[in-house]
Symmetry: C2
Subunit: 187 residues, 2 copies
DNA sequence: ATGTTGATGGCAGTCACTGACATCGGCCTA
DNA sequence: TAGGCCGATGTCAGTGACTGCCATCAACAT
């Protein structure tokens, strides 16, 4: 048996979710999270850059999935379509709506957390734009397609969690894309 | 004459811009800003909610301008066009490109500041979406038009500062809108 | 005169985050 | 198998953002 209990990072994550959910983000100190996980504050900061990051650890996976889907799209596909299709594909990964709702409830209750969420999305957009440029898409087109894609995703995500839209995220993305094409074409 | 030098807030703002520009945001303490302004740290926090907010104080004006332009648009105008037209109008206010560049250089050099910038934009989007809904535009359409509008603005803003696009912000917005309509229509 | 108000100072405290150093099981190598 | 290195954790002492509370004191009203 090792010198320490296994899966320190996982225990920290779990403890953080519990406490943020119970008392709210602001009312929770890092020391409390660490204590519940049977660790020290210092160790928390070795696993997570800051108090917020524990809620956003999975975002690299989403980024990889998105970039991969964009990169792998057929050349004939228009940039916006490549992005929105990638979003649908990524949507297939995010299936646990109840978990996503709880997490979002925590985030929405705190401005700092919303800020972090937004910069993660912005990084996603930057990565997607990079993937498009790598395919030879011109700068302006790439940036705009990526940003518009994130706009679609934001709206779709919120409606998925609200229950306003389709049952699965992929469906919500499709609805939003439909609205986008309608709304930008309409005179 | 009053008990204190006039325009404390302005002095704090000026001192903050100077120091953020000279040493960078992180390397500047609030105490230093206050000292340069001839005030105390405590007073800084009476004028600004936090160390970042001093760079974003003007954003309410932009929000009012945008919301006003959206609200005042003719009913026959499609939501997206109402938003993009409002953006062009707002662009007429932001004319000092050199100042905007300096400010943006400070912001781009620091993640926390970028986070703050993003949430200000998100609030802009929420306000615009609200204005659209108030005009009877359905939820999904309003949210999407607002978010897409911000996407356009982001791209236009960056190109304006880069010097990649037109000379005035209004022109950059127009270019981005053109690209948007082309790119979302294209099969 | 006297009371009130509003912008500021002073001070103590909390908490996020960091750097430097100590600890000690497990693993590798001779 | 002895010795030594490594990596995850602990400990501790900071720094700096931000807050609450109370004091100050010119200006202004009554």
């Amino acid at each position: 048996m090792g010198r320490w209990q296994p899966n320190a990072r996982g225990r920290l994550t779990r403890a953080a979710y519990e406490l943020y959910g119970e008392r709210g983000y602001e009312q929770t100190t890092v020391a409390e999270i660490a204590k519940r996980a049977g660790l020290t504050e210092r160790t928390f900061f070795r696993h997570f850059a800051d108090k917020r990051e524990v809620l956003f650890a999975g975002s690299e996976d989403l980024q990889e999935a998105l970039v991969g889907a964009v990169t792998g799209a057929h050349e004939s596909v228009a940039p916006v379509d490549a992005v929105t299709t990638a979003l649908e594909a990524a949507g297939a990964v995010l299936t646990d709506r109840e978990f996503s709702r709880q997490r979002q409830r925590i985030i929405d209750a705190n401005t700092e957390l919303r800020e972090r969420e937004l910069i993660k999305l912005a990084r996603l957009a930057a990565a997607v734009a990079g993937a498009l440029r790598h395919r030879g898409v011109p700068d302006l087109t790439a940036s705009l397609a990526a940003e518009v894609g994130m706009a679609v995703f934001k709206v779709a995500w919120q409606r998925w969690l609200d229950g306003t839209g389709a049952e699965d995220l992929r469906g919500c993305v499709r609805e939003a894309v439909g609205e986008l094409k309608g709304t930008t074409t309409r005179t």
